[in-house]
């Protein structure tokens, strides 16, 4: 008897603490490196929304590898909005009819309120003299990158290397393939997500260079000390556009469409842009971009649509089962 009383007590308090807190809750399902960004942005948006509508919001966050998160939403994770690493992962949701095919046209600039690119994080003083992509293919250089099969960031890494090889004089697909194969021969660890790779390089001290999101590289330096690492911006890299969208099936069921849309639109406002820039994402807003221009290295950015004909095509050619990445990785020994 006593025990059941205790149990019901515990259960009741648990359900109460979950449900009593707020008027509306939103769930933002995001990828790995955006944790700090959305922590600050959520606080700003809650304040803005309270001022505008007098409604109290609670915004919950979930973070993991981009592909894994898309999978969770497909399996029924009730995300009001998704803010993932690449359009391909949201396309996967569209394929399951969770949101419409033309989702990427619903917000300005390919639904990517901020951009990023791929840079190199090297050990202080750059002992291996890594300056550009071709230095990565040299023997004896230890590379850390996440696995392109599971990590959005890693796919950008891989495609940036490919695009660099194409842009060299006399570059073609065969040469690019050989070049990227050589780079992957130098890879020491393939972690499943971007944050795991950073930890391997920074905490466990593996490898000479980490291929990382620009924001992730800056964050590692900020958190762990500028005396330990340097950022190297290669001559050419890829314009990474991490897209955001509301999840139609969920917001329509929960009745949260209006606030979810406002949440994403506010990312484009000066305040949202400023927060993104503060967390080392490249802002779209030109004024804010000018303000933070000194923070980011100058780099020639190519786009996925321009060089690879969009994500669906790139994904199919390079990262599907038995695709070019699989062939290269199997042959590297």
């Amino acid at each position: 008897m006593k025990f059941t009383q205790v149990l019901t007590g515990v259960l009741a308090s648990a359900t109460l603490s979950v449900s009593a807190a707020a008027d509306t809750t939103l769930l933002n399902v995001s990828y790995d490196p955006t944790r700090e960004l959305y922590q600050e942005y959520n606080a700003a948006f809650i304040k803005y929304w309270k001022g505008k509508t007098n409604e109290t919001l609670v915004i919950n966050q979930s973070h993991a590898g981009s592909g894994k998160q898309a999978r969770a939403v497909i399996d029924g994770q009730d995300a009001d909005v998704v803010t993932l690493a690449l359009a391909y992962d949201i396309n996967a949701l569209a394929e399951k009819k969770i949101l419409p095919e033309d989702w990427q046209k619903r917000l300005p600039q390919n639904s990517s309120p901020y951009t990023s690119t791929i840079v190199f994080l090297v050990r202080k003083g750059n002992p291996k003299q890594i300056k550009d992509w071709n230095d990565l293919a040299k023997p004896g250089v230890g590379i850390v990158t996440p696995n392109p099969k599971t990590s959005g960031g890693a796919r950008w890494n891989y495609l940036a290397a490919w695009a660099y090889a194409l842009a060299q004089p006399g570059g073609n697909d065969a040469k690019a393939r050989e070049f990227v194969g050589q780079i992957f021969k130098n890879v020491k660890v393939l972690d499943s997500g971007a944050r795991g790779s950073t930890t391997s390089f920074v905490e466990r001290g593996i490898g000479d260079v980490l291929l990382a999101w620009e924001n992730e590289a800056f964050l590692a330096i900020k958190e762990l000390g500028p005396d330990k690492f340097d950022i190297v911006t290669p001559s050419l890299s890829i314009l990474a556009e991490p897209p955001v969208t509301v999840v139609d099936k969920v917001v329509d069921k929960r009745g949260t469409r209006k606030v979810s849309e406002a949440y994403l639109e506010y990312l484009y406002s000066p305040e949202g842009q400023e927060i993104a820039a503060k967390h080392y994402y490249r802002p779209r807003d030109e004024k804010i971009a000018a303000k933070y221009a000194g923070q980011f290295g100058k780099v020639n950015l190519i786009t996925i649509d321009g060089v690879f004909g969009g994500w669906n095509k790139a994904q199919k050619e390079h990262f599907s089962d038995g695709g070019i990445f699989d062939q290269l990785y199997d042959n590297r020994k």
């Binding site: 979930s62 029924g76 944050r195």
Partner: protein, 290 residues
């Protein structure tokens, strides 16, 4: 007994055992040394490291990192999950052990293998099983969604995965014990006119008391510490579906090393407590059997 065998006329100064009954000194030193070194490297140093890291910035930081809303919700959730899954597994485990140990029936071996299944399956797979059953892509999952019942990425899913993973602990502990005790006492009770429930509560249960406690403690430790299966079904929503182990991973990945170790130290303390209670139970059990 060998320790007491002494030659009656040997002088008291000759106390070292003879060559025939013991290993040479260096072998003993090396063996014991290796055992201790292994113990220190693999258990003591990591355990100490958890507490040293957790207290690196002093008590205040330690207390603060344990009492953030996210940490408290993780602790609460872990307690709730254990409070549901351990009693259920207690009932299931006793029922399973009782039927296996006290009765003969067809398919008994099969039942025993089923009980062992969660031990032989990787926890990640245990979690994925529930994603396949309750996920929005399955028909059953879809039906539940229509009824607005959330299993996956919510507390029920975490409880289910935990129950699955911790199922064998109680049953595995009880089966050999009950088999060794045989049916004699129960038969006597029934002959004297006791009913099924009386027999169980007044004869069987007192006999398996200590073994049962031991099983519950192991079950509880695993229920609170489970990572793999829970990670798959949790959805990682901070403040809502993160248990202590998941919360530790998140903190660590956010470069919050001290809070990560502070929260991890809670699990370490739980492990030490478990060890103490376990030793106590073993000691009581030894006492009773002697």
């Amino acid at each position: 007994m060998t320790g007491f065998v002494m030659q009656p006329d040997s002088p008291p100064s000759v106390r070292t055992p003879t060559r025939a009954t013991t290993e040479p000194l260096w072998v003993r030193v090396v063996l014991i040394g290796v055992a201790f070194a292994f113990f220190a490297v693999f258990l003591l140093i990591p355990l100490a490291a958890v507490f040293i890291e957790a207290l690196k910035k002093g008590w205040d930081t330690y207390a603060n990192s344990i009492s953030t809303p996210d940490s408290i919700s993780a602790i609460k959730l872990t307690l709730v999950v254990a409070a549901i899954s351990v009693p259920l597994n207690l009932v299931f485990g006793v029922a399973a052990a009782w039927s296996v140990a006290k009765f003969e029936f067809r398919g008994k071996q099969f039942l025993i293998s089923l009980i062992d299944l969660p031990f032989s399956v990787s926890p990640v797979i245990s979690g994925l099983i529930y994603v396949l059953i309750f996920g929005a892509q399955s028909r059953f999952g879809q039906a539940l969604r229509e009824l607005d019942i959330r299993v996956l990425f919510a507390v029920p899913g975490i409880v289910l995965a935990t129950i699955f993973v911790t199922f064998p602990f109680v049953a595995r502990e009880l089966i050999p014990l009950m088999q060794a005790q045989g049916n004699d006492e129960e038969e006597a009770a029934v002959m004297l006119g006791a009913g099924g429930f009386t027999t169980f509560f007044r004869v069987t249960l007192p006999n398996i008391k200590w073994g049962l406690m031991y099983g519950i403690i192991l079950c509880n430790a695993r229920a609170m510490g489970e990572f793999g299966a829970v990670s798959v079904v949790s959805g990682h929503i901070r403040g809502l579906t993160n248990t202590i182990p998941l919360h530790v991973e998140i903190l660590y990945n956010e470069y919050n090393f001290v809070p990560a170790f502070a929260v991890a130290s809670l699990l370490a303390i739980l492990a030490l407590l478990t060890l103490c209670v376990k030793s106590f139970i073993e000691w009581r059990r030894g006492d009773l059997e002697a």
